[in-house]
Symmetry: C2
Subunit: 305 residues, 2 copies
Amino acid sequence: MQVKILGSAAGGGFPQWNCACPNCSGVRNGHFEGKPRLQTQLAVSGDGATWFLLGASPDLRAQIESAPDLHPRNGFRHSPIAGAILASADLDHVLGLLLLRELQPLRVYATESVLHQLRDENRMFAMLNRIPEQVRWSVIRAEEQIALQTVEGTSLGIDCKSVALSSRLPAYATGSANSNDAVIGLILSNNSGRKLGFFPQLPCLTPELHALFASLDFLLMDGTFWSDDELIRLQGTGQRARDMGHIPVGGREGTLEQLKALAKPRKMYIHINNTNPMLNEAGPEYRQVRDAGWELAGDGCQLTL
Amino acid sequence: MQVKILGSAAGGGFPQWNCACPNCSGVRNGHFEGKPRLQTQLAVSGDGATWFLLGASPDLRAQIESAPDLHPRNGFRHSPIAGAILASADLDHVLGLLLLRELQPLRVYATESVLHQLRDENRMFAMLNRIPEQVRWSVIRAEEQIALQTVEGTSLGIDCKSVALSSRLPAYATGSANSNDAVIGLILSNNSGRKLGFFPQLPCLTPELHALFASLDFLLMDGTFWSDDELIRLQGTGQRARDMGHIPVGGREGTLEQLKALAKPRKMYIHINNTNPMLNEAGPEYRQVRDAGWELAGDGCQLTL
């Protein structure tokens, strides 16, 4: 299984358009040990020819152009991208679908809660169903394992299992979901049993999740915020990380401490907010992350599992 | 009045993710006399300090980062961007608003038809009204002239007049608008009487519009398609340019021929589709455009009126 990391920032990217925090100012003026990042986006493939997206970032157009493997190859209108799997209905995770509206056959896997937000509550996504052979929406159910397929029914050689995490809908939606499938984690595995875990939003950490993470070969973990009050300290106002569904990285209750016994998988933080001090590779937080055996996912990184 | 051209392509940009037409293939492999383009986006300012966007392209994040004048200057959260004016509710013209959702005070001017699509028909745009001091929506009426103002009431020194063009709503919407304000053109003027016309979508050309164009100093004109059947010839299927609300550039009924007597304004084509042969600067269509006194708008171009 090939994995391309096309983006690794949280919503808004790094730098963020209206932010002049030390990270954003630093990366703009070049006096910063750290890299700019597009919004979180993965692409996975079993054979290097047909690709599935994990998420659909608002930066997807630039992300596709940055990766020659994702450029069209056959005929005037073609794409090696066969579809996408969505882990939530968050704007920074779904808006990119609207950038794929040019009448291409695609399969989009998502839970019922997410499909409801896009298909029943939003007319714009009807642009993905203007002709019969365009997007086919496929429901994924929590804990169910499915074999990824193109619209034409060709297997990708990759299985996907979803892990239900939360009933918390995005801020634009009203109410909450009926079930805890509004936010999911994704476990992708190939024929040789190698496993990737993609958890860009982790609202809670249970013993079951801990055991699941320990079984993985590669874990991409919610690295949105370093501390629970990160935005409040910076802006004087805002929400806490946990109130937004993100366990922070640092601190006694953070994922770095809570997952310190995790030995097997290669471990990267992804979906990193522009305000997160660990983006500064000259700072103590970055050193703490590296010393604990974690990496920061970076745009353009490619791995084979 | 300062004018920045931050993007000049039609929806999908150039190259387009799933297109391997001669233009897109050529610009990807480097064997092409012509430039890649982000989706159409302008920024205008009276004083160089406070800016208004014309349209809100899906590429807006990259477009803002590409222009240092648009980076934050004062405090941790700030932007020199004070608002946006919308000429339609087309996805490639409005999606960028959702990229400006980080609690910044902004004024957005649009017609009632456009505001209805965004505010009444779409929950996602509620992200622009999460706190009291965020987006203020202001109705612009056809033919009415308004003085652009920030949310705080500071004048930009720029007047804006809208020209009603069509009742044609975007393809994602159902039905059509009650009035012909679903698509408008924008005339911006400053204190010294210099006038900019922005018409990224021109469905019809009347004697009144011809006279209006002749009074301008700078005209940015719909350059989406070269010929009416451009997409059909390339793909074997699709809509005609005129059915999508765009007068083509070439041919006897095209804007190049119809507007050949237009002497005064500096004239640029913008909103150029990836399939338009005039993008190839080695081709006869580009030569025809240049010989007629027109230019192609290019990303990064900046003018002072």
